[in-house]
């Protein structure tokens, strides 16, 4: 399976708001697998969103099991039509993006979040996430709204305590 081409900044599609997924069918499952395969080819990616490969739908992958150090996680997740319903606390962390090669920067994210989404079968799922996994989810959900981490950069010397 060939990885899907990843759009890179400043491609306008990375700035677009994605449409909800309405069809939960084998093609969607196949796409999610293809998207995972694509992320696997990148440099240590822990998530990817559908618009990064030009599919303008609200689907993203979150996988905190791939963190270098063990972190709290819910395993590899396919999040479809995700929405953050609650958030608490703030933390600074360094982020990069498959669509923005050779640049990383500091971003403030909520420390803990609650989100609801649909899984690959269309079932409603909810998660409480914290720390690194919550950061991944916020980064990927931002992609679905056309927001890049570049839009959220804070001073490179920002130093809220990492948790």
């Amino acid at each position: 399976m060939e990885p899907l081409p990843i759009l890179t900044y400043p491609d306008d599609r990375l700035k677009a708001v994605c449409e909800p997924v309405e069809q939960f069918d084998p093609e969607l499952r196949e796409f999610a697998e293809h998207l995972q395969h694509t992320a696997d080819q990148g440099p240590s990616a822990v998530g990817i969103a559908a618009p990064q490969v030009g599919r303008m739908q609200r689907l993203c992958l979150v996988d905190a099991t791939r963190a270098k150090r063990p972190v709290d996680n819910h395993g590899p997740l396919v999040l479809i039509n995700p929405a953050i319903t609650n958030w608490k606390g703030f933390a600074v962390g360094r982020e990069g993006c498959l669509s923005i090669p050779d640049y990383t920067g500091k971003v403030i994210r909520a420390e803990t979040i609650e989100l609801t989404a649909q899984d690959i079968e269309g079932r409603i799922v909810t998660f409480k996430m914290k720390g690194f996994e919550a950061r991944i989810a916020q980064h990927e959900i931002d992609h679905l709204d056309g927001i890049l981490f570049l839009d959220r950069l804070v001073s490179r010397h920002a130093d809220l305590r990492e948790r």
């Binding site: 998530g47 360094r94 050779d102 690194f132």
Partner: protein, 176 residues
């Protein structure tokens, strides 16, 4: 195809006032120069610039181009040809924050300890806060540690006895 000119490193320092960056970069833009990575900050009451530049000639020519602005702002200017290139970023995986009452030797002692523990410094910023009567020293260091966090923590633990608060935090870049 012509080889690109080598990168030059411009360093400029002078009393901080509005317009230094705009005037310097306007001259460089006007001759078609390319800017690479830059770092600019206020240190004391001075404004300091480090800037990668190419395409504006050799060091003497660049100094000549900037002479008028340099004189207007009373800046100290230095230009060196450097063996540098873009897209050579490295990601820090450890952060060390140090603070204490100000005294001499903090940077030398802490960085020597970090070196001994295998840490390579990628970014260091320090400042003196508090008051003139009771100054405090704050230092933030980002770097890479091939051996992980533990050797760094063990190595800096001794500073607690010397009145320094040292916090070591692992960093992980989230990429997605």
């Amino acid at each position: 195809m012509a080889q690109p000119q080598p990168w030059l490193l411009l360093t400029l320092v002078g009393a901080d006032r509005p317009g230094i960056v705009a005037h310097i970069t306007r001259v460089l833009f006007g001759v078609g120069a390319e800017l690479g990575e830059t770092a600019m900050m206020r240190l004391g009451n001075q404004f300091a610039i480090m800037m990668m530049v190419r395409g504006a000639g050799n060091p003497e020519e660049v100094a000549g181009l900037l002479e008028s602005v340099r004189a207007d702002f009373n800046l100290k200017l230095h230009v060196d040809e450097i063996d540098a290139s873009l897209h050579q970023h490295r990601e820090p995986d450890i952060s060390v924050t140090v603070h204490s009452a100000d005294r001499s030797g903090i940077v030398a002692e802490v960085t020597a300890a970090l070196l001994e523990a295998g840490m390579n410094i990628l970014d260091l910023r320090s400042d003196v806060g508090g008051s003139a009567e009771k100054p405090i020293y704050i230092m933030q260091i980002d770097g890479e540690s091939s051996a992980g966090v533990e050797p760094i923590e063990q190595c800096v633990a001794r500073f607690a006895d010397q009145g320094l608060t040292v916090r070591v935090t692992p960093l992980e870049t989230m990429r997605g």
